[in-house]
Protein backbone atom coordinates (compact mmCIF):
# COMPACT_ATOMS: atom_id res chain seq x y z
CA UNK A 1 0.00 0.00 0.00
CA UNK A 2 1.57 3.23 -1.08
CA UNK A 3 1.17 6.61 0.57
CA UNK A 4 -1.17 7.53 -2.26
CA UNK A 5 -3.46 4.63 -1.42
CA UNK A 6 -3.35 5.57 2.24
CA UNK A 7 -4.47 9.13 1.51
CA UNK A 8 -7.22 7.78 -0.71
CA UNK A 9 -8.45 5.48 2.05
CA UNK A 10 -8.44 8.27 4.61
CA UNK A 11 -10.29 10.71 2.35
CA UNK A 12 -12.73 8.00 1.35
CA UNK A 13 -13.41 7.06 4.95
CA UNK A 14 -14.04 10.66 5.97
CA UNK A 15 -16.43 11.04 3.04
CA UNK A 16 -18.28 7.81 3.77
CA UNK A 17 -18.58 8.42 7.51
CA UNK A 18 -19.85 11.95 7.06
CA UNK A 19 -22.28 10.73 4.38
CA UNK A 20 -23.71 8.25 6.89
CA UNK A 21 -23.88 11.00 9.49
CA UNK A 22 -25.90 13.16 7.10
CA UNK A 23 -28.79 10.73 7.28
CA UNK A 24 -28.38 9.58 10.88
CA UNK A 25 -27.84 12.99 12.48
CA UNK A 26 -30.86 14.16 14.42
CA UNK A 27 -30.01 17.81 14.12
CA UNK A 28 -31.01 19.36 10.81
CA UNK A 29 -28.23 21.93 10.81
CA UNK A 30 -25.61 19.33 11.67
CA UNK A 31 -26.90 17.13 8.88
CA UNK A 32 -26.44 20.01 6.44
CA UNK A 33 -22.91 20.59 7.72
CA UNK A 34 -22.08 16.92 7.34
CA UNK A 35 -23.38 17.18 3.80
CA UNK A 36 -20.91 20.01 3.17
CA UNK A 37 -18.15 17.83 4.61
CA UNK A 38 -19.20 14.92 2.39
CA UNK A 39 -19.11 17.12 -0.70
CA UNK A 40 -15.68 18.42 0.28
CA UNK A 41 -14.58 14.82 0.75
CA UNK A 42 -15.76 13.94 -2.75
CA UNK A 43 -13.67 16.85 -3.99
CA UNK A 44 -10.76 15.33 -2.08
CA UNK A 45 -11.36 11.96 -3.76
CA UNK A 46 -11.21 13.65 -7.16
CA UNK A 47 -7.99 15.37 -6.12
CA UNK A 48 -6.40 12.08 -5.05
CA UNK A 49 -7.45 10.56 -8.36
CA UNK A 50 -5.54 13.29 -10.18
CA UNK A 51 -8.48 15.38 -11.41
CA UNK A 52 -7.62 18.73 -9.83
CA UNK A 53 -9.95 20.78 -12.00
CA UNK A 54 -13.00 18.68 -11.21
CA UNK A 55 -12.04 18.60 -7.52
CA UNK A 56 -11.95 22.39 -7.27
CA UNK A 57 -15.09 22.83 -9.32
CA UNK A 58 -16.76 20.40 -6.94
CA UNK A 59 -15.69 22.54 -4.00
CA UNK A 60 -16.67 25.84 -5.61
CA UNK A 61 -20.06 24.67 -6.86
CA UNK A 62 -21.24 22.19 -4.27
CA UNK A 63 -19.56 23.34 -1.07
CA UNK A 64 -19.43 27.02 -1.89
CA UNK A 65 -22.84 27.42 -3.46
CA UNK A 66 -25.21 24.48 -3.07
CA UNK A 67 -24.50 23.65 0.57
CA UNK A 68 -24.48 27.33 1.54
CA UNK A 69 -27.89 27.70 -0.09
CA UNK A 70 -29.08 24.71 1.92
CA UNK A 71 -27.98 26.42 5.10
CA UNK A 72 -29.63 29.66 3.97
CA UNK A 73 -32.81 27.79 3.26
CA UNK A 74 -32.78 26.28 6.71
CA UNK A 75 -32.38 29.66 8.36
CA UNK A 76 -34.66 31.79 6.25
CA UNK A 77 -37.61 29.46 6.04
CA UNK A 78 -39.38 28.14 9.06
CA UNK A 79 -37.96 24.69 8.66
CA UNK A 80 -37.96 22.88 11.99
CA UNK A 81 -34.50 23.39 13.46
CA UNK A 82 -34.09 21.27 16.52
CA UNK A 83 -33.11 17.93 17.85
CA UNK A 84 -36.36 16.02 17.60
CA UNK A 85 -37.63 17.58 14.40
CA UNK A 86 -35.75 15.30 12.08
CA UNK A 87 -37.18 11.83 11.93
CA UNK A 88 -39.31 10.81 8.98
CA UNK A 89 -40.15 7.42 10.61
CA UNK A 90 -38.91 5.70 7.48
CA UNK A 91 -35.66 4.25 8.73
CA UNK A 92 -36.32 0.66 7.64
CA UNK A 93 -37.41 1.65 4.15
CA UNK A 94 -34.52 4.07 3.76
CA UNK A 95 -32.01 1.46 4.84
CA UNK A 96 -33.48 -1.09 2.43
CA UNK A 97 -33.38 1.32 -0.53
CA UNK A 98 -29.85 2.47 0.26
CA UNK A 99 -28.66 -1.12 0.70
CA UNK A 100 -30.27 -2.22 -2.55
CA UNK A 101 -28.70 0.70 -4.39
CA UNK A 102 -25.31 -0.13 -2.93
CA UNK A 103 -25.58 -3.80 -3.98
CA UNK A 104 -26.74 -2.79 -7.46
CA UNK A 105 -23.89 -0.32 -8.00
CA UNK A 106 -21.32 -2.72 -6.58
CA UNK A 107 -22.65 -5.52 -8.79
CA UNK A 108 -22.29 -3.27 -11.81
CA UNK A 109 -19.00 -1.54 -11.07
CA UNK A 110 -16.89 -4.37 -9.68
CA UNK A 111 -17.34 -6.74 -12.67
CA UNK A 112 -16.95 -3.84 -15.07
CA UNK A 113 -13.77 -2.27 -13.72
CA UNK A 114 -12.59 -4.70 -11.06
CA UNK A 115 -9.81 -6.36 -13.00
CA UNK A 116 -8.29 -3.25 -14.54
CA UNK A 117 -4.81 -2.32 -13.50
CA UNK A 118 -4.46 0.98 -11.70
CA UNK A 119 -2.14 2.85 -14.01
CA UNK A 120 -0.98 6.37 -13.29
CA UNK A 121 -3.95 8.55 -14.11
CA UNK A 122 -3.49 11.79 -15.98
CA UNK A 123 -6.83 13.52 -15.95
CA UNK A 124 -8.16 15.19 -19.09
CA UNK A 125 -6.96 18.71 -19.66
CA UNK A 126 -9.21 21.67 -18.95
CA UNK A 127 -9.40 22.40 -22.67
CA UNK A 128 -10.59 18.85 -23.35
CA UNK A 129 -13.28 19.15 -20.66
CA UNK A 130 -14.42 22.49 -22.04
CA UNK A 131 -14.64 21.23 -25.61
CA UNK A 132 -16.44 18.07 -24.49
CA UNK A 133 -19.07 20.04 -22.59
CA UNK A 134 -19.64 22.89 -25.01
CA UNK A 135 -19.26 21.02 -28.31
CA UNK A 136 -20.13 17.35 -27.96
CA UNK A 137 -22.56 17.59 -25.06
CA UNK A 138 -23.93 21.06 -25.56
CA UNK A 139 -27.56 19.99 -25.90
CA UNK A 140 -27.73 18.04 -22.61
CA UNK A 141 -25.86 20.92 -21.01
CA UNK A 142 -28.42 23.46 -22.17
CA UNK A 143 -31.34 21.23 -21.22
CA UNK A 144 -29.82 20.92 -17.77
CA UNK A 145 -29.56 24.70 -17.52
CA UNK A 146 -33.23 25.04 -18.38
CA UNK A 147 -34.05 22.45 -15.74
CA UNK A 148 -32.12 24.41 -13.15
CA UNK A 149 -33.85 27.63 -14.20
CA UNK A 150 -37.23 25.95 -13.87
CA UNK A 151 -36.26 24.67 -10.43
CA UNK A 152 -35.18 28.17 -9.44
CA UNK A 153 -38.46 29.77 -10.53
CA UNK A 154 -40.41 26.98 -8.86
CA UNK A 155 -38.52 27.49 -5.63
CA UNK A 156 -39.29 31.21 -5.65
CA UNK A 157 -42.98 30.50 -6.21
CA UNK A 158 -43.07 27.94 -3.42
CA UNK A 159 -41.26 30.23 -1.02
CA UNK A 160 -43.71 33.06 -1.68
CA UNK A 161 -46.76 30.92 -1.17
CA UNK A 162 -45.31 29.58 2.04
CA UNK A 163 -44.75 33.07 3.34
CA UNK A 164 -48.32 33.98 2.46
CA UNK A 165 -49.66 31.30 4.73
CA UNK A 166 -47.59 32.39 7.69
CA UNK A 167 -47.90 35.49 9.79
CA UNK A 168 -46.37 38.51 8.09
CA UNK A 169 -49.32 39.77 6.09
CA UNK A 170 -48.39 43.29 5.17
CA UNK A 171 -45.09 42.47 3.56
CA UNK A 172 -46.42 39.40 1.85
CA UNK A 173 -49.23 41.29 0.21
CA UNK A 174 -46.78 43.71 -1.31
CA UNK A 175 -44.54 40.96 -2.52
CA UNK A 176 -47.37 39.09 -4.15
CA UNK A 177 -48.62 42.13 -5.94
CA UNK A 178 -45.15 43.14 -6.97
CA UNK A 179 -45.73 46.53 -5.40
CA UNK A 180 -44.52 48.41 -2.42
CA UNK A 181 -45.50 51.65 -0.85
CA UNK A 182 -43.53 54.37 -2.50
CA UNK A 183 -42.76 56.01 0.82
CA UNK A 184 -40.85 52.99 2.05
CA UNK A 185 -37.75 52.90 -0.07
CA UNK A 186 -36.07 50.26 2.07
CA UNK A 187 -38.71 47.69 1.71
CA UNK A 188 -39.37 48.40 -1.90
CA UNK A 189 -35.77 48.11 -2.87
CA UNK A 190 -35.57 44.91 -0.92
CA UNK A 191 -38.49 43.36 -2.72
CA UNK A 192 -36.90 44.23 -6.00
CA UNK A 193 -33.77 42.20 -5.31
CA UNK A 194 -33.52 38.48 -4.91
CA UNK A 195 -35.79 36.81 -2.42
CA UNK A 196 -33.42 35.89 0.45
CA UNK A 197 -31.46 39.06 0.06
CA UNK A 198 -34.67 41.02 -0.01
CA UNK A 199 -35.87 39.71 3.31
CA UNK A 200 -32.53 40.50 4.82
CA UNK A 201 -32.57 43.96 3.37
CA UNK A 202 -35.95 44.65 4.88
CA UNK A 203 -34.70 43.34 8.17
CA UNK A 204 -31.61 45.48 8.11
CA UNK A 205 -33.37 48.62 6.99
CA UNK A 206 -35.89 48.65 9.80
Amino acid sequence: MTAHDLVFVIVGLVTAVSAILVVTSRHLMHAALYLALTLTGIGGVFLVLGAGFIALVQVVVYVGAVAVLFLFGLMLTRAPIGREALDSQNRGLGLAVAGALFVLLAALIIPAFGGESTAEVTGPTIEAIGIAIFADWVLPFEVLSMLLLAALIGAILLARREAGESGTEAEVTRIEMGEALADEPDRHEAVGTSAPAGELGAGGGR
Partner: protein, 410 residues
Protein backbone atom coordinates in the same frame (compact mmCIF):
# COMPACT_ATOMS: atom_id res chain seq x y z
CA UNK B 1 10.76 16.20 -7.83
CA UNK B 2 14.45 15.59 -7.16
CA UNK B 3 14.64 18.60 -4.90
CA UNK B 4 15.89 18.10 -1.36
CA UNK B 5 13.25 18.21 1.32
CA UNK B 6 14.18 21.64 2.62
CA UNK B 7 13.12 23.38 -0.60
CA UNK B 8 9.33 22.92 -0.23
CA UNK B 9 9.57 23.60 3.49
CA UNK B 10 11.53 26.75 2.80
CA UNK B 11 9.07 27.87 0.11
CA UNK B 12 6.11 27.38 2.42
CA UNK B 13 7.75 29.11 5.36
CA UNK B 14 8.93 32.10 3.34
CA UNK B 15 5.50 32.69 1.81
CA UNK B 16 3.56 32.30 5.04
CA UNK B 17 5.96 34.32 7.17
CA UNK B 18 5.95 37.04 4.54
CA UNK B 19 2.18 37.28 4.49
CA UNK B 20 1.93 37.10 8.28
CA UNK B 21 4.44 39.94 8.62
CA UNK B 22 2.55 42.03 6.10
CA UNK B 23 -0.65 41.35 8.04
CA UNK B 24 0.96 42.47 11.30
CA UNK B 25 2.26 45.62 9.67
CA UNK B 26 -1.14 46.24 8.10
CA UNK B 27 -2.90 46.19 11.47
CA UNK B 28 -0.47 48.74 12.85
CA UNK B 29 -0.49 50.87 9.71
CA UNK B 30 -4.27 50.88 9.62
CA UNK B 31 -4.52 52.17 13.16
CA UNK B 32 -1.92 54.86 12.53
CA UNK B 33 -3.31 56.03 9.21
CA UNK B 34 -6.93 56.07 10.32
CA UNK B 35 -5.87 57.89 13.47
CA UNK B 36 -4.10 60.49 11.38
CA UNK B 37 -7.19 60.89 9.19
CA UNK B 38 -9.27 61.48 12.32
CA UNK B 39 -6.84 63.91 13.97
CA UNK B 40 -5.80 61.42 16.61
CA UNK B 41 -2.37 60.08 17.47
CA UNK B 42 -2.97 56.33 17.31
CA UNK B 43 -0.84 53.70 19.02
CA UNK B 44 2.59 55.22 19.67
CA UNK B 45 3.86 53.70 22.92
CA UNK B 46 5.21 50.25 22.08
CA UNK B 47 8.31 50.28 19.93
CA UNK B 48 9.22 52.95 17.38
CA UNK B 49 6.01 54.73 16.29
CA UNK B 50 4.06 52.04 18.13
CA UNK B 51 5.04 49.46 15.54
CA UNK B 52 5.09 46.60 18.04
CA UNK B 53 1.55 47.28 19.19
CA UNK B 54 0.18 44.40 17.10
CA UNK B 55 2.55 41.95 18.78
CA UNK B 56 1.53 43.11 22.23
CA UNK B 57 -2.15 42.96 21.34
CA UNK B 58 -1.69 39.44 20.03
CA UNK B 59 -0.06 38.37 23.28
CA UNK B 60 -2.91 39.97 25.20
CA UNK B 61 -5.44 38.03 23.13
CA UNK B 62 -3.67 34.79 23.95
CA UNK B 63 -3.77 35.33 27.69
CA UNK B 64 -7.29 36.66 27.93
CA UNK B 65 -9.93 34.50 29.45
CA UNK B 66 -11.89 32.81 26.70
CA UNK B 67 -15.28 31.86 28.11
CA UNK B 68 -17.69 29.79 26.04
CA UNK B 69 -21.26 31.02 26.49
CA UNK B 70 -23.66 28.37 27.70
CA UNK B 71 -26.10 28.52 24.81
CA UNK B 72 -23.64 28.02 21.95
CA UNK B 73 -23.59 24.99 19.73
CA UNK B 74 -20.29 23.28 20.29
CA UNK B 75 -18.18 22.06 18.47
CA UNK B 76 -19.36 24.25 15.58
CA UNK B 77 -18.72 27.32 17.72
CA UNK B 78 -15.09 26.28 18.22
CA UNK B 79 -14.47 25.23 14.64
CA UNK B 80 -15.85 28.40 12.99
CA UNK B 81 -12.89 30.75 13.64
CA UNK B 82 -10.42 28.02 12.66
CA UNK B 83 -12.13 27.57 9.29
CA UNK B 84 -11.69 31.25 8.54
CA UNK B 85 -8.00 31.37 9.41
CA UNK B 86 -7.24 28.13 7.57
CA UNK B 87 -9.07 29.24 4.42
CA UNK B 88 -7.25 32.58 4.57
CA UNK B 89 -3.88 30.89 4.90
CA UNK B 90 -4.53 28.31 2.20
CA UNK B 91 -5.64 30.79 -0.45
CA UNK B 92 -2.23 32.49 -0.52
CA UNK B 93 -0.57 29.18 -1.35
CA UNK B 94 -0.88 29.73 -5.10
CA UNK B 95 0.34 33.34 -5.18
CA UNK B 96 3.97 33.82 -6.17
CA UNK B 97 6.00 36.47 -4.38
CA UNK B 98 8.64 36.55 -7.07
CA UNK B 99 10.24 34.53 -9.81
CA UNK B 100 12.85 31.80 -9.57
CA UNK B 101 15.33 32.12 -6.73
CA UNK B 102 18.64 30.31 -6.55
CA UNK B 103 19.78 29.37 -3.06
CA UNK B 104 22.51 26.83 -2.16
CA UNK B 105 22.53 25.45 -5.68
CA UNK B 106 18.77 24.91 -5.90
CA UNK B 107 16.54 26.97 -8.14
CA UNK B 108 12.90 27.23 -7.19
CA UNK B 109 10.04 29.72 -7.49
CA UNK B 110 8.81 31.66 -4.46
CA UNK B 111 5.38 30.06 -4.32
CA UNK B 112 3.99 27.21 -2.27
CA UNK B 113 2.28 25.41 -5.14
CA UNK B 114 1.84 26.49 -8.74
CA UNK B 115 -1.32 24.48 -9.41
CA UNK B 116 -2.61 24.17 -12.95
CA UNK B 117 -5.97 25.32 -11.54
CA UNK B 118 -4.58 28.04 -9.29
CA UNK B 119 -7.33 30.56 -10.02
CA UNK B 120 -10.01 28.05 -9.05
CA UNK B 121 -8.13 27.35 -5.86
CA UNK B 122 -8.46 30.98 -4.83
CA UNK B 123 -12.19 30.97 -5.56
CA UNK B 124 -12.68 27.68 -3.71
CA UNK B 125 -10.93 28.96 -0.61
CA UNK B 126 -13.03 32.11 -0.78
CA UNK B 127 -16.18 30.02 -0.76
CA UNK B 128 -14.96 28.00 2.21
CA UNK B 129 -14.29 31.24 4.07
CA UNK B 130 -18.03 31.96 3.93
CA UNK B 131 -18.58 29.00 6.23
CA UNK B 132 -16.53 30.56 8.99
CA UNK B 133 -18.72 33.63 9.20
CA UNK B 134 -21.94 31.74 8.69
CA UNK B 135 -21.21 29.04 11.26
CA UNK B 136 -20.01 31.57 13.80
CA UNK B 137 -23.25 33.47 13.43
CA UNK B 138 -25.43 30.41 13.65
CA UNK B 139 -23.63 28.49 16.39
CA UNK B 140 -23.58 31.49 18.73
CA UNK B 141 -27.31 30.88 19.11
CA UNK B 142 -28.05 34.51 19.70
CA UNK B 143 -29.91 37.10 17.59
CA UNK B 144 -27.23 39.63 16.65
CA UNK B 145 -24.62 37.09 15.59
CA UNK B 146 -27.26 35.26 13.57
CA UNK B 147 -28.27 38.44 11.74
CA UNK B 148 -24.64 39.33 11.16
CA UNK B 149 -23.81 35.85 9.94
CA UNK B 150 -26.69 35.70 7.48
CA UNK B 151 -26.03 39.22 6.22
CA UNK B 152 -22.39 38.64 5.68
CA UNK B 153 -22.69 35.26 4.04
CA UNK B 154 -25.39 36.54 1.69
CA UNK B 155 -23.07 39.42 0.87
CA UNK B 156 -20.08 37.16 0.30
CA UNK B 157 -21.99 34.68 -1.85
CA UNK B 158 -23.40 37.50 -3.98
CA UNK B 159 -20.10 39.25 -4.51
CA UNK B 160 -18.36 35.96 -5.17
CA UNK B 161 -20.41 35.70 -8.36
CA UNK B 162 -19.30 39.12 -9.57
CA UNK B 163 -15.72 38.40 -8.59
CA UNK B 164 -15.79 34.99 -10.22
CA UNK B 165 -17.00 36.53 -13.47
CA UNK B 166 -14.27 39.18 -13.30
CA UNK B 167 -11.71 36.43 -12.80
CA UNK B 168 -13.29 34.52 -15.69
CA UNK B 169 -12.42 37.31 -18.10
CA UNK B 170 -8.82 37.15 -16.89
CA UNK B 171 -8.81 33.41 -17.46
CA UNK B 172 -10.32 33.77 -20.92
CA UNK B 173 -7.85 36.48 -21.86
CA UNK B 174 -4.83 34.58 -20.52
CA UNK B 175 -6.04 31.22 -21.78
CA UNK B 176 -4.94 29.43 -18.63
CA UNK B 177 -5.96 28.80 -15.05
CA UNK B 178 -2.36 28.59 -13.90
CA UNK B 179 -1.21 31.66 -11.98
CA UNK B 180 2.31 31.60 -13.44
CA UNK B 181 0.85 31.60 -16.98
CA UNK B 182 -1.35 34.55 -16.09
CA UNK B 183 1.67 36.45 -14.78
CA UNK B 184 3.74 35.51 -17.82
CA UNK B 185 0.93 36.75 -20.06
CA UNK B 186 1.23 40.19 -18.47
CA UNK B 187 4.97 40.44 -19.10
CA UNK B 188 4.71 42.55 -22.22
CA UNK B 189 1.79 44.17 -23.92
CA UNK B 190 0.50 42.66 -27.14
CA UNK B 191 -1.29 45.87 -28.05
CA UNK B 192 1.21 48.63 -27.34
CA UNK B 193 4.91 47.98 -27.79
CA UNK B 194 7.20 48.29 -24.81
CA UNK B 195 4.47 48.65 -22.20
CA UNK B 196 3.70 46.17 -19.44
CA UNK B 197 0.68 44.12 -20.48
CA UNK B 198 -1.22 44.42 -17.23
CA UNK B 199 -4.67 42.93 -17.59
CA UNK B 200 -6.10 45.88 -15.69
CA UNK B 201 -5.94 47.86 -18.93
CA UNK B 202 -7.67 45.61 -21.50
CA UNK B 203 -9.97 44.20 -18.81
CA UNK B 204 -10.63 47.46 -17.02
CA UNK B 205 -14.34 46.83 -16.25
CA UNK B 206 -13.47 43.42 -14.82
CA UNK B 207 -10.70 45.03 -12.80
CA UNK B 208 -13.13 47.58 -11.42
CA UNK B 209 -15.66 44.89 -10.52
CA UNK B 210 -12.96 42.84 -8.87
CA UNK B 211 -11.70 45.74 -6.77
CA UNK B 212 -15.19 46.61 -5.54
CA UNK B 213 -15.95 42.94 -5.02
CA UNK B 214 -12.81 42.33 -3.03
CA UNK B 215 -13.69 45.06 -0.55
CA UNK B 216 -17.08 43.41 -0.04
CA UNK B 217 -15.58 39.94 0.04
CA UNK B 218 -13.11 40.93 2.73
CA UNK B 219 -15.99 42.48 4.67
CA UNK B 220 -14.19 45.79 4.98
CA UNK B 221 -15.65 49.29 5.24
CA UNK B 222 -17.69 50.60 3.53
CA UNK B 223 -19.09 47.09 3.08
CA UNK B 224 -18.60 45.83 6.65
CA UNK B 225 -22.30 45.14 7.13
CA UNK B 226 -21.52 41.90 8.92
CA UNK B 227 -20.18 43.66 11.97
CA UNK B 228 -22.01 46.93 11.72
CA UNK B 229 -21.43 47.86 15.32
CA UNK B 230 -24.19 50.45 15.35
CA UNK B 231 -26.79 47.89 14.35
CA UNK B 232 -25.54 44.44 15.27
CA UNK B 233 -23.20 44.99 18.23
CA UNK B 234 -20.35 43.03 16.69
CA UNK B 235 -22.17 40.94 14.12
CA UNK B 236 -21.15 37.35 13.75
CA UNK B 237 -18.39 37.48 16.36
CA UNK B 238 -20.39 39.13 19.13
CA UNK B 239 -20.20 36.08 21.40
CA UNK B 240 -16.51 35.42 20.84
CA UNK B 241 -13.69 36.63 23.03
CA UNK B 242 -10.03 35.98 23.67
CA UNK B 243 -7.98 34.28 21.00
CA UNK B 244 -11.01 32.97 19.15
CA UNK B 245 -12.10 36.55 18.59
CA UNK B 246 -8.48 37.26 17.69
CA UNK B 247 -8.64 34.61 15.01
CA UNK B 248 -11.59 36.33 13.37
CA UNK B 249 -9.66 39.59 13.41
CA UNK B 250 -6.61 37.84 11.99
CA UNK B 251 -8.72 36.25 9.27
CA UNK B 252 -10.20 39.63 8.36
CA UNK B 253 -6.84 41.34 8.05
CA UNK B 254 -5.35 38.31 6.30
CA UNK B 255 -8.19 38.65 3.83
CA UNK B 256 -7.22 42.23 3.07
CA UNK B 257 -3.65 41.15 2.37
CA UNK B 258 -4.73 38.12 0.36
CA UNK B 259 -7.20 40.09 -1.73
CA UNK B 260 -4.56 42.75 -2.44
CA UNK B 261 -2.10 40.05 -3.45
CA UNK B 262 -4.69 38.39 -5.71
CA UNK B 263 -5.69 41.59 -7.48
CA UNK B 264 -2.02 42.47 -8.03
CA UNK B 265 -1.37 38.98 -9.39
CA UNK B 266 -4.38 38.78 -11.69
CA UNK B 267 -4.58 42.34 -12.97
CA UNK B 268 -1.35 44.21 -12.28
CA UNK B 269 1.29 41.76 -13.41
CA UNK B 270 2.25 40.35 -10.02
CA UNK B 271 6.03 40.39 -9.64
CA UNK B 272 6.59 41.73 -13.16
CA UNK B 273 8.60 44.91 -13.40
CA UNK B 274 11.75 46.43 -14.84
CA UNK B 275 15.04 44.81 -13.83
CA UNK B 276 17.29 47.72 -14.92
CA UNK B 277 19.74 45.21 -16.41
CA UNK B 278 21.07 44.23 -13.01
CA UNK B 279 23.10 41.01 -12.67
CA UNK B 280 21.08 37.92 -11.76
CA UNK B 281 22.64 37.74 -8.32
CA UNK B 282 20.73 40.88 -7.28
CA UNK B 283 17.94 40.95 -9.82
CA UNK B 284 15.88 38.27 -8.07
CA UNK B 285 15.11 40.73 -5.30
CA UNK B 286 13.41 43.18 -7.64
CA UNK B 287 10.30 41.07 -8.47
CA UNK B 288 9.64 40.64 -4.75
CA UNK B 289 10.02 44.38 -4.35
CA UNK B 290 7.61 45.15 -7.22
CA UNK B 291 5.09 42.69 -5.89
CA UNK B 292 5.31 44.13 -2.38
CA UNK B 293 5.01 47.71 -3.60
CA UNK B 294 1.91 46.99 -5.68
CA UNK B 295 0.36 45.02 -2.85
CA UNK B 296 1.08 47.74 -0.30
CA UNK B 297 -0.58 50.19 -2.63
CA UNK B 298 -3.79 48.19 -2.52
CA UNK B 299 -3.55 47.70 1.24
CA UNK B 300 -3.25 51.45 1.60
CA UNK B 301 -6.31 51.80 -0.61
CA UNK B 302 -8.23 49.55 1.79
CA UNK B 303 -7.14 51.67 4.75
CA UNK B 304 -8.08 54.92 3.05
CA UNK B 305 -11.49 53.53 2.17
CA UNK B 306 -12.08 52.69 5.79
CA UNK B 307 -11.11 56.15 6.90
CA UNK B 308 -13.02 57.98 4.20
CA UNK B 309 -16.35 56.30 3.53
CA UNK B 310 -19.43 55.72 5.66
CA UNK B 311 -21.03 52.31 5.77
CA UNK B 312 -23.22 51.28 2.86
CA UNK B 313 -26.85 50.39 3.40
CA UNK B 314 -27.54 46.69 3.10
CA UNK B 315 -30.17 46.74 0.37
CA UNK B 316 -28.05 49.07 -1.71
CA UNK B 317 -25.09 46.81 -1.23
CA UNK B 318 -27.14 43.98 -2.64
CA UNK B 319 -28.48 45.96 -5.56
CA UNK B 320 -24.96 47.18 -6.36
CA UNK B 321 -23.74 43.60 -6.44
CA UNK B 322 -26.58 42.04 -8.37
CA UNK B 323 -27.77 44.84 -10.66
CA UNK B 324 -24.54 46.61 -11.50
CA UNK B 325 -21.43 44.54 -10.89
CA UNK B 326 -22.66 41.17 -12.13
CA UNK B 327 -24.05 42.53 -15.45
CA UNK B 328 -20.84 44.49 -16.11
CA UNK B 329 -18.65 41.50 -15.34
CA UNK B 330 -20.83 39.23 -17.45
CA UNK B 331 -20.76 41.59 -20.43
CA UNK B 332 -17.03 41.91 -20.15
CA UNK B 333 -16.52 38.15 -20.15
CA UNK B 334 -18.40 38.05 -23.46
CA UNK B 335 -16.44 40.99 -24.86
CA UNK B 336 -13.17 39.35 -23.82
CA UNK B 337 -14.18 36.04 -25.34
CA UNK B 338 -15.11 37.78 -28.60
CA UNK B 339 -11.80 39.65 -28.58
CA UNK B 340 -9.84 36.44 -28.07
CA UNK B 341 -11.80 34.72 -30.85
CA UNK B 342 -11.11 37.61 -33.24
CA UNK B 343 -7.43 37.38 -32.38
CA UNK B 344 -7.47 33.68 -33.15
CA UNK B 345 -9.14 34.40 -36.49
CA UNK B 346 -6.27 36.71 -37.28
CA UNK B 347 -8.20 39.97 -37.51
CA UNK B 348 -5.92 43.00 -37.47
CA UNK B 349 -5.05 44.53 -34.12
CA UNK B 350 -6.51 47.93 -34.95
CA UNK B 351 -9.90 46.44 -35.84
CA UNK B 352 -9.91 44.48 -32.61
CA UNK B 353 -8.94 47.56 -30.66
CA UNK B 354 -11.73 49.58 -32.21
CA UNK B 355 -14.27 46.85 -31.49
CA UNK B 356 -13.08 46.46 -27.92
CA UNK B 357 -13.16 50.21 -27.46
CA UNK B 358 -16.72 50.35 -28.75
CA UNK B 359 -17.72 47.59 -26.33
CA UNK B 360 -16.02 49.44 -23.51
CA UNK B 361 -17.90 52.64 -24.33
CA UNK B 362 -21.13 50.67 -24.36
CA UNK B 363 -20.47 49.30 -20.89
CA UNK B 364 -19.50 52.75 -19.68
CA UNK B 365 -22.68 54.22 -21.09
CA UNK B 366 -24.70 51.50 -19.39
CA UNK B 367 -22.93 52.21 -16.14
CA UNK B 368 -23.42 55.97 -16.35
CA UNK B 369 -27.09 55.85 -17.31
CA UNK B 370 -28.39 52.78 -15.55
CA UNK B 371 -26.02 52.51 -12.62
CA UNK B 372 -26.85 55.60 -10.54
CA UNK B 373 -30.57 55.35 -11.27
CA UNK B 374 -30.68 51.77 -10.08
CA UNK B 375 -28.46 52.40 -7.13
CA UNK B 376 -30.24 55.47 -5.94
CA UNK B 377 -33.11 53.39 -4.68
CA UNK B 378 -36.84 53.91 -4.75
CA UNK B 379 -36.74 57.27 -2.99
CA UNK B 380 -35.38 58.96 -6.09
CA UNK B 381 -37.86 57.36 -8.43
CA UNK B 382 -41.21 58.84 -9.31
CA UNK B 383 -43.78 57.86 -6.75
CA UNK B 384 -45.73 54.76 -7.59
CA UNK B 385 -49.44 54.69 -8.00
CA UNK B 386 -51.26 53.66 -4.83
CA UNK B 387 -51.76 49.97 -4.32
CA UNK B 388 -54.91 48.76 -6.07
CA UNK B 389 -57.66 47.36 -3.88
CA UNK B 390 -56.71 43.80 -3.02
CA UNK B 391 -58.92 40.87 -3.88
CA UNK B 392 -61.67 40.12 -1.33
CA UNK B 393 -60.11 36.85 -0.19
CA UNK B 394 -57.15 38.83 1.05
CA UNK B 395 -59.33 40.91 3.33
CA UNK B 396 -57.24 40.67 6.52
CA UNK B 397 -54.09 41.51 4.65
CA UNK B 398 -55.70 44.49 3.00
CA UNK B 399 -56.70 45.96 6.33
CA UNK B 400 -53.14 45.68 7.38
CA UNK B 401 -51.96 47.48 4.30
CA UNK B 402 -54.49 50.22 4.76
CA UNK B 403 -53.35 50.81 8.28
CA UNK B 404 -49.75 50.92 7.16
CA UNK B 405 -50.56 53.51 4.58
CA UNK B 406 -52.33 55.70 7.04
CA UNK B 407 -49.37 55.58 9.30
CA UNK B 408 -46.97 56.76 6.65
CA UNK B 409 -49.28 59.28 5.05
CA UNK B 410 -48.54 62.31 7.27
Amino acid sequence: MDQPLWVPIFQTLVVFVYFLLVTAVLIWAERRVVARMQHRVGPNRVGPFGALQTLVDGAKMFFKEDPTPGMVNNPVYTIAPLVGVIAGFLSIAVIPLGFDVTLFGETFPLVVADLNVGVLWILAMGSIHVYSVFLAGWSSNSPYPLLGGIRSSAQMVSYEIAQGLAVASVVVYAGSLRISDIIAGQQTSTLIEGMPGWYAIPLFPAFLVFVIGMVAEAGRPPFDLAEAEGELVGGFHTEYSGMRFGMFMLAEFMNVVTMSAIVVTLFLGGPNGPTFGLPDAIAWVLPILWFSLKMIGFIFFFILLRGALPRYRYDRLMSLGWKVLIPIALVWVLVTAGFVLLAEEGIATTVRLVLAGAAGLLVLALLVTAGPARLAGASDRPKRAPIPTPAPDRAPASRHVERDREEVAP
